[in-house]
Point group: C2
Chain length 306, copies 2
Amino acid sequence: MEITKESITDWLKTLQYTICRSLETEDGLAKFKEENWEREEGGGGRSRVIENGQVIEKGGVMFSAVSGKTPDFLFKEKEHSISGTSPQETTFFATGISIVIHPQSPLVPIIHMNIRYFEMSNGTKWLGGGIDLTPHYIVDEDARFFHKQLKSVCDKHHESYYPKFKTWADDYFFINHRKETRGIGGIFFDRLNQNEFLNFEQNFAFWQDVGRAFAGIYVELMHKNKTKPYTPEQKQWQLLRRGRYVEFNLVYDKGTKFGLETNGRIESILMSLPANASWLYDFKTKQDSEEQNTLNKLKKGINWIS
Amino acid sequence: MEITKESITDWLKTLQYTICRSLETEDGLAKFKEENWEREEGGGGRSRVIENGQVIEKGGVMFSAVSGKTPDFLFKEKEHSISGTSPQETTFFATGISIVIHPQSPLVPIIHMNIRYFEMSNGTKWLGGGIDLTPHYIVDEDARFFHKQLKSVCDKHHESYYPKFKTWADDYFFINHRKETRGIGGIFFDRLNQNEFLNFEQNFAFWQDVGRAFAGIYVELMHKNKTKPYTPEQKQWQLLRRGRYVEFNLVYDKGTKFGLETNGRIESILMSLPANASWLYDFKTKQDSEEQNTLNKLKKGINWIS
């Protein structure tokens, strides 16, 4: 396909549709509800949310395509500042899909996926995205499966991508005040255009494959774990881990901050928060427990594949 | 008393003791548990936490007294920057009490109180603090009682203080992305030394009275409301309101941000988060319901007293 705003938008809408269908089928009970919304400054979105399913307690597959005057902060971020143009002179267009799924069972992991495309009237454009997994209980076999799937998506396009984007995810999904990663990471990338490895069209193909890979990976993890029995203690541990998820999203996540600061649609932005979460004062895991085992593996730099 | 670091610290410790006794007595079941902790860079604290009481589900009365090299950010905040000294040259001492109480019943309000004293080796010193109330359901009579009590504490020292510090609380305890106040506000003040109204000693006396007023005000609100029956729907509404409390504390609260960024004791800082909280996608209150009535009153600038 020719890569234009319109073709990207159409492709993302189709992807939203196919992902929702896959998740509904595996859930077997709940259906996505849809809201179309408009943004005063330009553009809008199509939010699809599923609640109270058999497998999924709360999840969203959110599409948006917004435009307007380029926000000032893009010119202020030191590491990525765009020189040569003042923000007043440009308009932007941004489109993407964001997904967070909170399952009912503590034995099914939380997953997050985002792919986004950004362009400005001055010709600047880039791709960003990633998929990361937050198991309430880390199971090595599932972690290996997850990372292998992501590696194979990356390797198809360039062998440097998995190690590079895996490290980026480790660094990004880090709850600094807890000194814990949010989960087992995955891949994360931003501001991808052309680089020393691939041209823009090739990177666009990689970006599409990330989006296409999501449903298959998560449905397999749902299917494998959804019928396993669990205890009330495991459910309580899930609520505590969800508390950490809330901490990451409200304190660190750039997409959330951006949305809250730029008058985004609050219900779409905070869809990522779980139906319920818990904080107990100074909770300690038991030695050699599964909970302790999980905490021990919430670290950067683990090679999940070898 | 002569106002010194030592005398302030001693007084705060006694206040922590008397507040905990009052709350325990009114709760009638749970007792505070104590942890003493030390800070690597200097000083430490005495955390007292109560959980699973008859009236209080989770609450903390936290004392701390910390010292060290003055953090750089104090010299960076535009509105309050301290000129004439570079941060490298000064040390600081800060002591205070922070309280958050999350009750079991949705008909008992959440309360927060903080009083703090700060000084630097260059002679700068100030007082800060406040009390604010977050009812899950706003009851005009209780709101009037609460604000009248605070006004009388303020009026005893200077008539300008209640209007000034009430407005400050309205502005501070505001969830900007929701366009809602956190609750019905109260009073909030910072960087109080000498001003056009009172000298430092007089302001110190005001500050002490804020601390002394807390227990009486909250115990009365606990006592009045703790035995009222409530429905599961009201409990669910409480969990949603607690979700907003989490949003405020993690996204906006300066004390929380300061703690997370300066390597504070995480369990003490995040004691303010409730045992459990909830987020439902795009939840709407029913017209003319008590929930809608509460939302309508989560606004700045309401005169609760007249």
